[in-house]
Symmetry: C2
Subunit: 179 residues, 2 copies
Amino acid sequence: MALSHAILVCLTERPMSGYDLAKFFDTSIGFFWKATHPQIYRELKKLGEQGHVTSIEEIQSGKPNRIAYSITQSGKDALKEWSREPVALPLIKDDLLVRLQAIEYVDKDALREQVAARLEAHREQLGQYYHIRDVRFSDGQPPAEDLGKLMGLELGIQYEQGWIAWCESVLQRLEKQKS
Amino acid sequence: MALSHAILVCLTERPMSGYDLAKFFDTSIGFFWKATHPQIYRELKKLGEQGHVTSIEEIQSGKPNRIAYSITQSGKDALKEWSREPVALPLIKDDLLVRLQAIEYVDKDALREQVAARLEAHREQLGQYYHIRDVRFSDGQPPAEDLGKLMGLELGIQYEQGWIAWCESVLQRLEKQKS
DNA sequence: CACTCATATGTGCATTGACACATATATGCA
DNA sequence: TGCATATATGTGTCAATGCACATATGAGTG
C-alpha cells in the first residue's frame, strides 16, 4: 500500500487538495508512481481516518469548494517508519518487450510503428525532464532538501536517454528486415 | 489482460506446463513481465476454454503428472491481432524514487542501505543478462527469429547498466551527507 | 523416521487498480 | 443555446494481482 505513502510524500511539500494531488501525479511524482483521482480521494479518506492528514474545506467563489489536506506529525512519523522498510525491485511490465520475444508471430509493420511511437514518447518525456532541470536546478548546488528530487530527475533523464538510444537502434534493424 | 498474451508468447517457443511457465516467468520472459503460478494456472484454464491452447496430460512416474500446453492456430491468430494494438508506456512504480522525493523526512541510514541493496540487485541481474548473451548469442549473427530476443536482452543490459551507474553516484553523494 | 527439496496443480481471499459514471459551478466559444 | 473546458469531489464495479494455504509424489539427507 505505497500509494498512501506517495501521497504523504507529496504533502510534505505543501498542503494539497485531491485535485492538486491528481495533477501532481500526472507530472512530478507521477514519473515514479501513477495514480488516478478516484484512487487518490479514497486514499485521502483513509489517511484522514488514520490521523496522518488533516483537512480544511476552503470556500471558493466561482469554483467548487476544495478540501485542502495537510500532513500531520503522525503522518511524518508514518513516513519515517515506512522509509525503514526494504524496497522491492520495481517490476517491469512491458508489452513491447513481450512482443519482441515472439517477433516471428507479430505484425512487423505494426511493431515498427509501435517502436517509433515509443521513441517519440520517450523523447517528449526527456524534454519534460530537461525543462524541469533547467527551471528548478539550473543555479549550481541545490539545497539539501532538494537533492533527492535532483537525483530522481537524473535517473529519469538517464532512463529516457537509454530508451531513446535503444529504440533508434531497434528501428534501424527492423528497417533492414523490411524487404 | 496481457498475461494471457505473454503466456502465448512463451508457448510459441515450445509446449510447456504451468510449472514450466512459472519457472520461465522467473527467468527469461519474466524480465519484462512478472507472474505467479496461481495466476498462470488460472490463465491457462481460460486460454483452453477460448481454444487458444490445447493440453495433454503426460503420465509421469516418480513425479506428479504434468499437463503440457501447446499454442493452437487460433492462439497464433490472437497473438497477431494483439500485436496490432498500440502499446502503453510501461508504468514505473518505484518506492525508492518516491522516498528520494522526501529525503528530509526519511531515515537516511536506511536509504543508503536500500540504495546499496538495489545496486547489488542490479549487478546480479546484469550478470544474468551477460550470461544469457554469452551462451545464446555469442556466435555472430543470430537467426531472424531470435533477433527480438537479442534486442530485448540489449535493452535489459542497458537498463541495468544505467541503474548501476546511478546507484553508485547516489551512494557517493549520500556518503558525503553522512557527517 | 522426520525433514526438506523439487516436481506438479490448484483454491480462496483481500487488496489494488482501472475505468466508467455521477454531480456541481463558472467561463469561453460558436 | 449548446458545447467544451477547467475546477472540484466523489461512487460503483469489475478485472488484475498478490499471497497464503492446500494437496500430492518421490528422492535425498540427517
